[in-house]
Symmetry: C2
Subunit: 213 residues, 2 copies
């Protein structure tokens, strides 16, 4: 079913970055961007921008640059975020709470439609206090039922590391399609489920490599 086979993962990562930059341009009412200006804002080089976009056919008009709005919509379509994605967050400690109010999710069609914890009563007290309004937190026992009822496709894990794999198994059992794991313990799932482990140490490793070399 792949419309665009053999795209390097680094290009996919940069598409996200371009999208973010295009949104900034749009907020400033810029209508057109050259690959050079886009490169400068996104902190890559112009040849890289053109090479990345070449994987997906011609976007820009030679000598005219890219139409900001069109390019943004093209990238959204390529990434698959031109429609809503319904998400559950499991584990409502500090990290889970931060995600529940992460402002950019909605902009990108990511809707957190359920939040789960092993102790929703305790959590609700904390959250109301911290966020000024109550957020509906459900007991983890209701995961499978609610994932089906609310047509949830993505599960985000924000539990302590020792619970992460157990929660991943529950998400798989609830027929989730993809998992994004924020806990420092890597989780695994059957091949038909996509998993991304987001380790904060990796972000620092990357920064430190470029500070060192």
């Amino acid at each position: 079913m792949a419309k665009y086979p053999k795209i390097p993962e680094a290009t996919i990562r940069r598409l996200s970055n371009y999208l973010k930059c295009l949104e900034n341009l749009e907020n400033k009412n810029e209508k057109v961007a050259s690959s050079a200006s886009l490169a400068s804002i996104c902190n890559v080089n112009a040849a890289q921008v053109r090479k990345d976009f070449a994987y997906f056919g011609e976007f820009g008009i030679r000598g005219m640059g890219y139409n900001v709005k069109e390019l943004k919509n093209n990238i959204k379509e390529i990434l698959g975020i031109n429609r809503e994605w319904r998400i559950a967050v499991v584990g409502i400690g500090n990290m889970g709470s931060a995600l529940l109010v992460y402002k950019d999710f909605l902009k990108q069609n990511y809707r957190i439609v359920a939040a789960f914890d092993i102790d929703p009563v305790k959590v609700i007290g904390n959250i109301s206090e911290r966020m000024g309004r109550p957020v509906e937190i459900l007991h983890i026992d209701r995961l499978k039922e609610v994932v089906a009822a609310r047509k949830i496709e993505i599960g985000i894990i924000t539990t302590p590391p020792q619970e992460a794999q157990k929660v991943a198994d529950l998400l798989v059992n609830a027929n989730i399609k993809g998992i994004l794991n924020f806990s420092p313990a890597p989780v695994r799932a059957p091949d038909n489920i996509k998993v991304r482990n987001l380790f904060f140490t990796s972000a620092l490793d990357n920064l430190v490599y470029y500070l060192t070399n």
Copy 2:
């Protein structure tokens, strides 16, 4: 000064991932790993593993595989995390609080030695309550002085997006070397300062791309 020039950024990213997998193997008392076994654990293919390591010279012994401990130390050296890195976290809301107790930082020689907020008094109350012990949170006005006194090289931004660039400027002014920004607003710094913006939407974009294509 680059010891290993022209290493693709994707390889650098995977080195972090390999490191994580090697630590898991070490915890299970495994002494030796083949590129095939490492590939399977890390969710890449064996040819990719060998290609990545080839950038840095020969690590393994042909037919014998890699010595887990040695390979781990080699990767740490390449990334530059074979020494301590001192870090300040700025903005102690939910996200900042989550980082203050993120268990894997210390394993990787990342030491958070200072935390700042615009309202440390309010924050300290919250944190003590949530974490069971007080964490020293300093007023942002003390940033420059404390960065110098505690030899801090990396600043992590966990403020609301509208404060992020202001904090980045303060960190630059305090002679920090690298910035990791967790807020959804991209921050910029002069060329001699390394900046990484970690957008949670990008992690979801990446997952969704592979769910869609």
